[in-house]
Structure formats: structure tokens, C-alpha cells
């Protein structure tokens, strides 16, 4: 990701637009040029690399672009390490103690270094020059580290990464994120909610399948005051969201002092699934388990008007959300949601059924593997507001179809 000082955006009517690089020959050439500078500096210091990059920057005004590309290369594709024959901390102690005895004045420095080159050379069995001592003194400073390895990306991928990073950067000062998600597959939703949970974000969900779900994303303390504290988590969420098919979002942003000169008190950023940004996160599995996959396969062969869809309804429950496995729709518009429970532990089942009681959903079907002894799991089957179908081995479409009412 990019640091705040490398972000570029424009403001118009309270809307923030990140500066994106088109995949043009010119930009590909620029990316290639910077990648080549890194390749040429493998085995040299970060300071040498910075100087070369600075020369490339020159007095041009797009220095932020060049610096941004270089930043991504050095943080995500490079390894820097200190390389020195003399351990710097010990070397410094030797040098400074010796210098202190001589009187720490610059006119004495050369003599001190010459003495120590001799002394250390004898101790280590090396021929050392005073210059080597002076250079080794701060070999451990990051700017004096060596670029020991570099994995060059193709220029187009670097431009893609740059664009996503620019968009991510906008979220750093977001205090509220409203996502509208339309018919998306269960796996995509699960993937998204996995990341929401991972980054400690909270959600409030409204709406339905037809109008789209509005998912408000923020954190625990957002209830009391708007906080940009969760902005970084939202930024990290974006690449996960880019793997979801149909959505749009609006983030509310706290303006920076420079932005206030535009006269806008509040800023927002909008983005949708057509934005063309590409994710560098790995995509999740389409199916959670083989059990569900085989059921979908069988359904495709079954003779029925009912259509099995992977695009599902989100079922909000307090503090969380349920994402059923399937949605089953009839051409006449009637629909059910189906949740398949195959592998389980008693604790998991108890929680699951507790959730189900809280779900306000009258067209839900739960398919439970017959191998489960619900009584032993301490689960009360009474008063469940949903239809339940038990199955042995694998779930058959027929068992589910019998429960459906047109």
C-alpha cells in the first residue's frame, strides 16, 4: 500500500477521485524504467537506489507517481539487508571510546580512524583502511542497507497494483463505508464477510435481494463519534471486495487540511464493481465443501422448474450475518433459501440453531445430515421457525423438492 504523502487525487463537488494510471504504452514504459532501475541496483545500497530514483524524478511534477511506483516495488517486491564485515554496533563502540580518549574533535578524527584500522585489522587478520572504518560505522542504517533480492513484476501488473493502492489510500481517512451488494454468489459473500471479520469491522445490513443489500461498515466506537480509525481496515478490505461480482460503495471521508481549501466540508468516494481495478488477493474457493458441490451437480440433472442459484440472500442476525448456501426460485417468483449442514461439532450446531431462531425468515430450509444426533448436541428442535430435511450420506434434490410449495 502507499503512504499518505504518495496519494494523488482530485476533488470535484465533494467527490474524491484517485489518480489512476491508464495502461498506455507511455505508462508501461515508465513502469518498466523504474523496474529496471531496481534490477540494476540489486547488490547496491538503498541510498544508491534512492539517488537513481531521484535523478529519474528530476524536477518533473509527476514525482509522486514515480515515487509511488518505486514505493510499491521496494515494499512489496524487494529485500534489503545490511552487509558489512564489521558489526556496526560494536564498531561504533570501539571507535567512539577511542575517540573520546583522544578528545572528540574533528581534527583528531583521521588519527583515530587510522589507529583503529590498524588495531582492528590486526585483530581480524584483515587489511583495513580508515575509510572502510568510516563507511562501516553506520552500515546498519536502513538507507545504507543493500538491495539483496528483487522480484520484478511485469509492468502492467505494477500499474494495476498502483491503481488499486491509490484507491485503497482514499479509505485511510474514511469514517463510514456504505456498500450496496446485489445478487452475488454465496462464496463471494462468504469471502467478503471473512475479510470483514478478519479486519475487525462491524456491519449493519438492510434491504433484500431485489433492491440490493446496504451493508454499512464501521467499527465498535463509530456509534459514538465518526472515527477514521477503521479506515486502514477498509483499505485492506477493498482488494477482497474486488473479487465480488456486483456492488457499489460510498465512503465518507474526513477532509485533510489541504482539501478544506476546495470549500467542501465533507468528502466522499464512490466506486463500483465496474471500476476496472484488479485485486492482488487470492480468490476464494467457489464451493465451501464437496457436499454442496455434489448437490448442485445433482440438481442440474433433476427434472424440475425450480432453479438452484448460488446468488443468495443475506440474513442479518444481531452482531453477524448468515449466508445460506443456496437460493431456490420458481419461475412464478416464489423462492426459498437452503442451508446445508454437513460436518459439525455440538458447539457449532448449538450456535447455528440459536442463530436460526433469531433470523426473521419464513422460507428457509435446513438440510441436516442424519448422522447428527441433535439431542446429544443439546439442541432443542422445537420451535424452529424453519423447515428441516434430514439426509443420509449425500443430500438428494428429491428430498428438498418435496418441501417446496408453489
Amino acid at each position: 500500500m502507499l503512504t499518505s504523502d504518495l496519494l494523488q487525487y482530485s476533488l470535484k463537488d465533494g467527490q474524491v477521485r484517485p489518480k489512476l494510471l491508464k495502461i498506455t504504452l507511455k505508462n508501461i514504459e515508465l513502469a518498466r524504467e523504474i523496474i529496471e532501475i531496481f534490477e540494476q541496483h540489486v547488490g547496491l545500497t538503498r541510498r544508491d537506489l534512492s539517488e537513481a530514483l531521484q535523478t529519474l524524478e528530476g524536477e518533473s511534477t509527476d514525482y509522486r507517481t514515480k515515487r509511488g511506483l518505486a514505493h510499491l516495488l521496494s515494499t512489496e517486491h524487494s529485500t534489503f539487508d545490511p552487509i558489512t564485515p564489521l558489526e556496526p554496533i560494536q564498531l561504533r563502540e570501539r571507535v567512539f571510546l577511542h575517540a573520546a580518549k583522544m578528545g572528540p574533535i574533528d581534527t583528531h578524527s583521521q588519527q583515530t580512524l587510522t589507529d583503529l584500522a590498524m588495531l582492528l585489522g590486526q585483530e581480524l587478520g584483515l587489511v583495513l583502511t580508515p575509510e572502510q572504518i568510516r563507511e562501516g560505522l553506520y552500515a546498519d542504517l536502513p538507507e545504507r542497507h543493500y538491495l539483496t533480492s528483487f522480484e520484478a513484476p511485469v509492468p502492467e501488473d505494477l500499474l494495476d497494483r498502483f491503481n488499486t493502492a491509490q484507491a485503497q489510500g482514499i479509505f485511510y481517512r474514511a469514517y463510514d463505508l456504505k456498500l450496496t451488494a446485489f445478487r452475488n454468489s454465496q462464496a463471494e459473500y462468504k469471502y467478503l464477510f471473512k475479510f470483514l471479520k478478519l479486519f475487525g469491522l462491524m456491519t449493519y445490513i438492510e434491504g433484500d435481494q431485489d433492491t440490493g443489500f446496504t451493508i454499512t461498515v464501521d467499527g465498535p466506537t463509530s456509534l459514538f463519534s465518526a472515527s477514521t480509525r477503521y479506515g486502514l481496515s477498509m483499505a485492506k478490505l477493498l482488494p477482497a471486495l474486488l473479487h465480488v461480482s456486483k456492488w457499489n460503495l460510498t465512503a465518507s471521508l474526513k477532509p485533510r487540511s489541504l482539501d478544506l481549501m476546495s470549500g467542501d466540508e465533507t468528502l466522499s468516494y464512490t466506486l463500483d464493481s465496474q471500476c476496472g481495478l484488479r485485486s492482488h488477493y487470492k480468490k476464494g474457493q467457489i464451493f465451501d465443501s464437496a457436499l454442496e458441490e455434489s448437490f448442485a451437480g445433482k440438481w442440474a440433472k433433476a427434472k424440475t422448474e425450480w432453479v438452484l442459484e448460488k446468488e443468495v440472500d443475506l440474513l442479518p442476525i444481531p452482531g453477524s450475518v448468515m449466508i445460506p448456501d443456496f437460493r431456490i426460485t420458481h419461475p412464478n417468483g416464489k423462492s426459498y433459501v437452503l442451508e446445508v449442514i454437513g460436518y459439525w461439532r455440538p458447539e457449532y450446531l448449538r450456535r447455528k440453531f440459536q442463530q436460526l431462531r433469531k433470523v426473521d425468515c419464513d422460507n428457509m430450509i435446513i438440510a441436516v445430515s442424519d448422522r447428527l444426533n441433535l439431542g446429544d448436541a443439546g439442541v432443542d428442535m422445537k420451535d424452529l421457525p424453519v423447515k428441516v430435511v434430514f439426509f443420509k450420506g449425500s443430500l438428494q434434490p428429491k428430498a428438498v423438492l418435496e418441501l417446496l410449495e408453489v
Binding site: T61, F96, G103, R229, P318
Partner: protein, 487 residues
Amino acid sequence: MARVPTLTFDRGTLILHPPPKGKDWVQFVQWDERIEKFRLPAHQYRAFLEAMRQEGTEIRDDARKFQDLSLNLPEIQPFSHQQDALNAWKQAGRRGVVILPTGSGKTILAYLAMHITPRSTLICVPTLDLMHQWYAGLLRTFPETQVGLLGGGSKDEAPILVSTYDSAAINAERLGSQFALHIYDECHHLPTDFYQVIADYSIAPYRLGLTATLERSDGRHELLQNIIGPTVFKRTPEQLSGGVLAPFKEVQIKVTLSPDERQEYDRLIEERNGFLRDQGIGLGSLEGWQRFVKQSARSKAGRAAMLAHRSAREIAFGTSGKLRVLSDLLTRHLGERTVIFTDDNATVYKISEQFLIPAITHQTPVKERHATLERFRTGDYPVIVTSRVLNEGVDVPEASIGVVLSGTSTQREYIQRLGRILRRKEGKEAILYEVISEGTSEERVSDRRRGVEPNKPPEEPRKPPTPVKGLEQGTLDLNTPISWEDL
């Protein structure tokens, strides 16, 4: 059967469920639709429980994760101002800010506060140096109790935890329920958007803020009233001088740029000013600055002007003339404990490499800075050079010479730098040298730092910095800057 209303901690907030009877609780909470429960900010913990107790409403407290400690009385005879400050803080319900000059024993006051409030304690400090100083002191003072560090590579869990503001803010959601007493060292750091969560996300019912200078240029110190408590005790350097602080004198040295540097400096400034004139930008205000920064990213001329500005600044701050002065000062004070301050790391390393003097910057590994300070203490290293990291509160005992080579324009920083050499020692006379370049923008910076109004003509006698009364003035007249040749 109705369950007892229970308070639990959730990442910087409290959840109250199920709702109690009565009515006072309503004013503390908000309905959180996301979890369909009532929530309140963590820092309301004490006020809420006090109100419930008053009303006779039973609340089960599952939020607090702090523990009772048994802390022995520190083997220190406190000064009267420390005892008075402790009493005032206790009287105020163990919440509030104590303002004492640097070097007057704020740490000892903190030990005393911990002794009378023996619960899990979090101590927040602005720098790694201070962190290790507190750590060493706490280990000595409370040898029976586990003391841990958070920040600078350490991630301990302990009932007494010393943390940097940065690490405490990053971990605020997790730390919020663990401590009953918060001690904020140099507490003027706390009221920023980033750091304030340390206090806001915490249930800590007891809070002590310590500082030498409460004021912030952005005025946000007013917020401390709410997040820590009122100012319960205040003593100025004047009130304590003679008793606690050592006298010092101050010498300002102006250096002239070499003819080459002068020429280059003038050329760069002219290049910058030419651009500013064309654009009608004045640098007198923050807004002017912001416009300059904005323009520098928009046009080639603006970018060049910004680069010129930076180069000019580098010449003024890092001039070779200053290093010549430094060389002479070190010769003059050979064998005396000396600290050199500069504003930027590049100059620190330049001096360290040229003079072979140990450096301390924020990049210095924690163990090495510890060892370096220790060697400075014992006298093995008579001189150290440092950037801003040693500005505040770090014990650098017995330093008798300070050299400020460059700086930025806040009064607070200046006072605290002075504080570094105001150490009480028998027969000690401290000298603070300020070396600035003549005829550069730095003169103005220095004035601002010393609290001189920028619009006053420079001929007018300068106000000496805060400590006036009771402080012995040097043989050199404070009000007339001397030039390098006069020394």
C-alpha cells in the same frame, strides 16, 4: 428469571446487557442496531458505575480485567512539591494533570501515585529513551512486581506496563480493559486524533497526566480536562528554581555563511521568491504554505521553487560554519559533559561521522541507546549528538553544556531542550549555546522558539526564555546576540 444487567468490554466500548431497571442508565448508552444491544464509550465506565451505585442498581462488571497489586512504599523522601501534588491529585478523585518543570521529579510523583492506587497501571511515554528510563526506574522501585514494555520491539503483558504513545494507540482496543491507572508522561502529546484513543477506549478510572508545559500550539490541551481530568497542581521553574533546578546561562552564537554558501543561499531564495511573487503567495500564514505545497505538485516552476526552498534550508541548517563553531566549542569545553542537539538525522550522522561522537536518533537500536546513555552517565563518552529524540524528559544527568545547532519554531520544544541541562548538581553552571546562521530564515525561527513576537523589530531587547527569576544570568548579556568572532 431475569439475568443481572452485565457490563462487558468490546474493543474500546462497553456493552450493557440486559438493560437494567431504573432510568439513570439511559443517559449513558446508545442503542447499537448492529448487535441489538446497548453500548457506551469505555471512558464512561467510572461515571456510569458511580451513577448506578448511587441509584442502587445492581450491575455485574465483567468489563474490568485489571488486578490489585501490592506495591511497597518507594524508599524516597519526596520533596514538598511532590507530596503536595500527590495530595491534590488524590483529592481530585485520582484524576488530573500535574504541571512541574523538567527535572523536578515527576517520576517520583508517579511512583507515589501508584503506591496509593495499587492496581494494574499503564504508563505512556513519547520516546523509547523515556520508555527505558521508566522501565529501569520501576524495576528498582517495585522489585516485587512484574513490569513490562510495549513498543520498540517489545510486546509484554504485565500489570505494570510502560508503552510508547504509538504502541498504546495502536493497541488501544485491546489495552482498554486491562488497567485501572493510566499515567501519561509528557501528557501534552495525548490530545491528537491518533493518540487520544488511548484514553477514550479505556475504562481506567484513575488517570494522572504529567508535563512541564501543557500548552499546544493547536490549543487542543483544553481537551485534557475531559480525557484526563483538571489541572490539579502547577509549579513553574521560577517557583522551584534554586530549590530544585540548577542555574544556567544562555549564549547565542551567530555564524556567517561562507561566501560560496551565501551566494548559493541567496540564489535559491531568489528563485523561490520569484515563483512566490508570480503566484502572489505569501509565506506568512499557514494558508500561504499550503498553497505553496499545492503549487509545487502542479507546475514545474512550483516544484523547482520548492526544491530551491529545501536546499536553502539545508544550507542554513547544516552550514559548515556551524560545524566549525562546534569544533571550537568542543575544544573550549573539553572534558565537560556535552549534548549536541540538531533538528534532522542527516546532520546528526554527519557530526557523528566527522567528530566520531556517538549519536542517538529514533533509528538507534534500543539496547545501543541505553548503552550509549549509560556510557555518557559514567563519563566514558563526554559528548553525544542527538536529533529530537532527547528533547523531552530523558534523564541526561550532569550534562553541563548544551549546543543547539538548529531547531524548529515551537516554544515548548525550546523550554524542554533547556530543561535537559537544568540538572541539579553541586556547583554546576550549565551553558546553553544556540548556534544559528546569520541572515537566513533561521533567525526568525529562533525568535519564535524563544517566544519573541515575530513582528517586533530584532533590535528590541529579547525576552529571555521562561525561567527568569532566581536564575543566574551569564557573564554575557542575554539581550545582545554575540557574533562568533567575539568569543
